[in-house]
Amino acid sequence: MSSTRDTGATAPTPELAADTLLSVRNLKTYFFSREGTTKAVDGVSFDVKQGEILGIAGESGCGKTVTSLSIMRILPKSGKIVSGKILFNYDNQTTDLAAADPESREMRSIRGKEISMIFQEPMTAFSPVHTIGNQIIETIRIHQPVSKEEAREQAIEMLRRAGMPSPTRNIDQYTFNLSGGMRQRAMVALALSCQPKLLLADEPTTAVDVTIQAQMLNLLRDIQAELGMAIVMITHDLAVIAELTDRVMIMYLGKEVEYGTVEDVFYRSQHPYTRGLLGSIPKLAPGRVEIDPIEGSVPSVYEMPTGCKFHPRCPHYMPGVCEKRDPPLIEIAPGHAVRCYLYGGKEALE
């Protein structure tokens, strides 16, 4: 049975398995400007199961944030989803978000209710001239037919759950009244105010200091266990991923290069880029600190390498192979896939 809603899509939307919440398939999001086209996301695919925590890791500029903005359909004006599908399971139906009109009633009812997002900078994520309560209550009332008083009760409850010290007072405060950690908690309360099925957490621990980072991770884990939602944890901090997630996807220049369980990717990493990324973490050995960084730097967006985009920096570069065509994703073990010619796929080049 086809389940296309009125999203303007012509092709029937494929049905997702019931245990899959979100399936991003070959998503391409480009930015168009006078200087040229930036392929911020260039054919990324991944699934999020109901209630799981997926980590997406990579250097800045690899397309992590653009991927989440694409899912929410809140890209800036110059950004456009060029192709691909974003299949989302809700209300017992599968909807292709990539085909929906970003300003449609349906998309607006998904944003904030079914899928919500935690942003990197809690200071600037709230309007400075409205109280945090005003913005949380507004969100609740957009998505639920409740009175102002009820919405306020719910907002206070959410602030309490997010660990705000005195929710009844904090609700009427402005961001400039709050400390960094409290702002981040308010941001969590805002994102969870309608109990979404999917939470996109974009670098939620980057702007806060280490002690608060640990508190935030515990908070997210507790709330996830309590509400049973799925979380996509987007970060460049591999320690956060190891700490919190079930599965992880490593992105490089708009594409996934390796994915699998945390154990697969961290202890049995295969892709040269994943290994490089792990080698870049300082290791505390007695007497000295070892760092083994990746050679070179991320290429300019206007001069993308051909073939495998990592080949100019790769220690295992195979001339005549890697620069020819982008390697396919190869499943080397159940649930563990790598995009690299070292593990096969060369046949297709002949």
Partner: protein
């Protein structure tokens, strides 16, 4: 808030004293005094003035006395509400101000309303449709508005209205009978009919400038994270504009009220002369030329009070709309 307002009101006293001192000294600064320019004007007409008359005039107006005594006499009378006597117009200063202040005030107020009513929507439109044909059109009109002198606009306005209606858009009323009639609806309508042109012309440069300010402020706010976050929460398009970025972008616009007011009062001078309007500005200009001290000083003081009140109003409004400012006062 009450403490803030009372503190600001108290601060106005020293400010006004300084303004009055500087004003008084500057009016006196050119060589000669009122009698010199009066005698020069009479002699130009061929009259012969004898020295006794000149000395008599000087003594009558106290012009021979040292400056600080003259200042003290004027200032102490002024605070008691006695504005003195205009030597040039041979009328009590209070009567002149009473007759002309309402027209000045009406034009300034109307032109402020026009400035904001025109500039804010156009600024918002220009920002939301940045680099579109609409944006470019208003940018060009805006630059023309800033660059065109007011008196030229007034002349062009007169000419256009004369061509299209055959009437001269001069003065405040269409006929002398109307001027002396009691304030009825017909009279108010007639007044408005004559006020909109000077108000529009006076406000032209301000409007053009404010469009640019509004556009730039909104363009600064639109890409801010809190707008993206609001979108991510499911806030609709219209509310996304007026509840969040517009609310913050309007702050600097509110703070312009303080300096728009004096700019409009000044801008009104040439427009009033060209359109023959009985406002304060031309009177002030003549009083300064003739060194009619009491009149000039009093008008300057009244305008200074208006400017200070305007600034205070804009500060209070800012504190009302922006909690960050409210917290710091």
């Amino acid at each position: 808030m009450l403490r803030f307002i009372s503190r600001r009101l108290l601060l106005m006293v020293p400010t006004l004293i300084i303004v009055s001192l500087i004003g008084f000294i500057l009016i006196q600064a050119p060589p000669g005094d009122f009698v010199t320019s009066y005698v020069a004007a009479l002699e130009a007409q061929g009259d012969i003035i004898d020295q006794d008359l000149i000395d008599g005039l000087r003594a009558r107006f106290g012009l021979g006395q040292p400056l600080y005594i003259q200042y003290w006499r004027w200032a102490s009378n002024f605070v008691q509400g006695n504005f003195g006597y205009s030597m040039g117009l041979r009328q009590p200063v209070a009567d002149i101000i009473k007759a002309r202040l309402p027209a000045s005030f009406a034009i300034t107020l109307l032109s402020m309303i026009l400035v904001y009513a025109i500039a804010i929507p156009i600024g918002v439109l220009s920002a939301t449709k940045q680099y579109s044909i609409v944006d470019y059109t208003f940018t060009v009109i805006g630059f023309l508005g800033v660059a065109t002198p007011n008196f030229l606009l007034a002349l062009v306005g007169l000419w256009v209205i004369y061509l299209s209606t055959g009437k001269a858009a001069m003065g405040l009323y269409s006929s002398p009978q109307m001027q002396n009639a009691p304030f009825t609806l017909a009279k108010v309508l007639d007044l408005l009919n004559h006020l909109w042109l000077p108000a529009l012309i006076t406000g032209m440069a301000g409007t053009a400038g404010l469009i640019r300010t509004m556009r730039a402020n909104l363009l600064d706010e639109l890409p801010k994270p809190y707008v993206t976050v609001a979108r991510a929460r499911g806030v609709g398009r219209v509310k996304l504009l007026y509840k969040y970025p517009l609310r913050i972008a309007i702050n600097p616009v509110i703070s312009t009220i303080g300096y728009t007011l004096p700019a409009l009062l000044e801008g009104e001078v040439l427009v009033s002369i060209v359109l023959g309007l009985p406002t304060l500005a031309p009177v002030l200009l003549n009083a300064l030329l003739q060194q009619d001290m009491l009149l000039a000083s009093s008008v300057i003081m009244i305008e200074a009070v208006l400017v200070l009140v305007g600034t205070l109003i804009s500060d209070i409004l800012l504190a009302i709309v922006d909690p960050r400012i409210r917290g710091s006062i």
